[in-house]
């Protein structure tokens, strides 16, 4: 083959992007799937000049990215893991930003009768009793941890469940796709559910229990641990995320007329180990 300088020249190795005002933040799939990022990122770029590059992963991987110093900040929702991350010195401090809630979605005929129950623990117990198909994220994400917390509160162990319990090890959207295909129950964050395009025969069957409260927390990666992180930009972003401008955008973000997130960066109680459960959204 003759050398083709045209091809070789046009597609030279990618030069590194200019690092001036770009920073990387690992966020959870539920945050990205909500569509809120599409509202916040342009506003952040306009107000602060920071171009935030999102790595959309589960909370487990987001924390790993922060530990390795591959991102400048993380925005996640798994309190125990966050506290461990900060106490091990990987992050500077937890900054609560906002919360939303989880819903239990399932087949509209509701074989386990969730719609009549009063608590989330009773709801998952009913699913276990009827052995109705259930899809679990199974990926160590914040949503997965929230689901495991429900099972453990119901004194049940998913390890012992039969084939009705499907741990798919995938993101929120893929897990919802699986649930739609199996016509199964699944715990989902409200934002991802509302934005999901393949609902099939699924519907929201249980919601509103304060146990389904879901706090999002912003943590800058500790520059003492990883000198390469852009700590200044991470702090600038934190200032913006806790500002009235962010509050306005977060509180007013709706899908199909439903508010999704409640800004609570100004609530001193939000970061405490046992946050008072706020009233459910709606």
């Amino acid at each position: 083959m003759t050398p083709r300088p045209l091809l070789a020249g046009t597609f030279l190795l990618a030069a590194l992007p200019v690092q001036a005002q770009e920073m990387r933040m690992a966020v959870t799939t539920s945050f990205e799937n909500s569509g809120l990022a599409d509202v916040l990122l342009p506003a952040i770029a306009e107000d602060t000049g920071i171009e935030v590059q999102l790595l959309v992963v589960g909370t487990g991987q987001a924390i790993r990215l922060g530990e390795a110093g591959d991102v400048d900040a993380i925005l996640v929702h798994a309190q125990a893991a966050e506290e461990e991350f900060v106490s091990a010195g990987f992050g500077t401090a937890r900054q609560p930003i906002m919360y939303n809630d989880f819903v239990i979605v399932g087949p509209s005929e509701d074989p386990a009768g969730l719609a009549d129950l009063s608590s989330a623990v009773a709801a998952v117990t009913a699913v276990e009793m009827t052995e109705a198909p259930f899809v679990s994220r199974g990926d160590d994400s914040g949503t997965h941890k929230a689901e495991l917390a429900l099972w453990s509160e119901a004194l049940l162990d998913p390890e012992t469940f039969g084939p009705w319990y499907n741990a798919v090890g995938a993101g929120m959207g893929s897990a919802l796709n699986t649930a739609a295909g199996l016509n199964a129950y699944i715990l989902a964050d409200r934002a991802s559910w509302l934005n999901f395009g393949n609902k099939g025969d699924l519907a929201v069957l249980f919601e509103g229990d304060p146990a389904l409260y879901n706090q999002y927390t912003y943590i800058p990666v500790n520059p003492e641990r990883h000198p390469n992180v852009q700590a200044d930009l991470a702090m600038e972003l934190q200032d913006w995320l806790t500002s009235p401008a962010a509050q306005e955008l977060i509180d007013n973000y709706t899908i199909a007329g439903e508010a999704l997130f409640v800004f609570n960066a100004d609530d001193p109680e939000a970061a405490s180990p046992t946050p008072p459960a706020p009233a459910p959204i709606e």
């Binding site: 083959m1 003759t2 992007p17 790595l55 959309v56 390795a68 591959d70 999901f196 395009g197």
Partner: protein, 234 residues
């Protein structure tokens, strides 16, 4: 059927309106894959040819290994490149993780064995034809490799196109090392995975048809270029 029709319509809409985001991710797909192809070919074609003509002790083992490496699982390659390039990994200081460069590196690793192996197969047959002639002309090793590569250029093109085909459709490795960052490392395959995850099957399929179209177009373009330049000399 319905989803497929919707996907075709979506593909047509994306292409007709020259959707700027689609253009950007398609160009990045092409840039990453064609760069990887150039680098992989520069390594693999001489290597495959050398393996065909050079006799050495572990030649059979080397060839068997090369053939086995054709089946390298991309997701494992992605993971290894990720761990190497991570800030806490040995090459972390380069700061290459989540850049197109990292994606190119992963793809070079994936397609080099494929191109080298196809090259070796073709060159071995050609070498058995040329062996006596090239030996009797008292040619140097470099001259033999150059002659084989030149006369086998059509097969080498096929080898390169096979590599291109594997790279352009690859998602596992570049998802891990690129991170699928919007406006930075999102390419067609990772965008398809993302839209599938959101349940947007029509858009995902639309992007899929665009990807297939792109792969066919590149193949045609390379064939056309080669023919017009070298008419009747293949």
């Amino acid at each position: 059927m319905n989803d497929i029709t919707l996907g075709l319509l979506e593909a047509a809409r994306l292409v007709m309106t020259l959707d700027p985001e689609l253009v950007a991710i398609s160009l990045l797909s092409l840039r990453v894959t064609l760069s990887a192809l150039v680098f992989a070919s520069l390594i693999a074609i001489p290597l495959g040819t050398l393996l065909a003509i050079q006799r050495f002790r572990f030649r059979r083992t080397a060839i068997a290994l090369l053939n086995a490496l054709m089946g390298l699982p991309p997701v494992v390659v992605g993971l290894v490149v990720y761990v190497l390039l991570s800030r806490s990994g040995p090459l972390g200081v380069l700061g290459l993780l989540f850049t197109p460069t990292a994606m190119i590196a992963a793809q070079v690793i994936i397609i080099t064995p494929l191109i080298a192996s196809v090259t070796h197969q073709a060159m071995r047959d050609l070498w058995s034809d040329y062996h006596d002639l090239l030996i009797s002309l008292n040619t140097s090793k470099a001259q033999r490799i150059a002659t084989l590569m030149w006369d086998g250029r059509r097969t080498l093109l096929t080898a390169a196109l096979a590599g291109f085909g594997r790279a352009i459709g690859e998602v596992g490795a570049i998802m891990i090392v690129g991170g699928n960052i919007d406006n930075a490392t999102r390419v067609l395959t990772t965008a398809i995975a993302l839209e599938t995850g959101k349940g947007n099957f029509a858009l995902a399929l639309g992007l899929g048809f665009v990807l297939i179209g792109l792969a066919i177009a590149v193949n045609f373009a390379i064939h056309a270029l080669s023919r017009t330049e070298r008419e009747g000399r293949w």
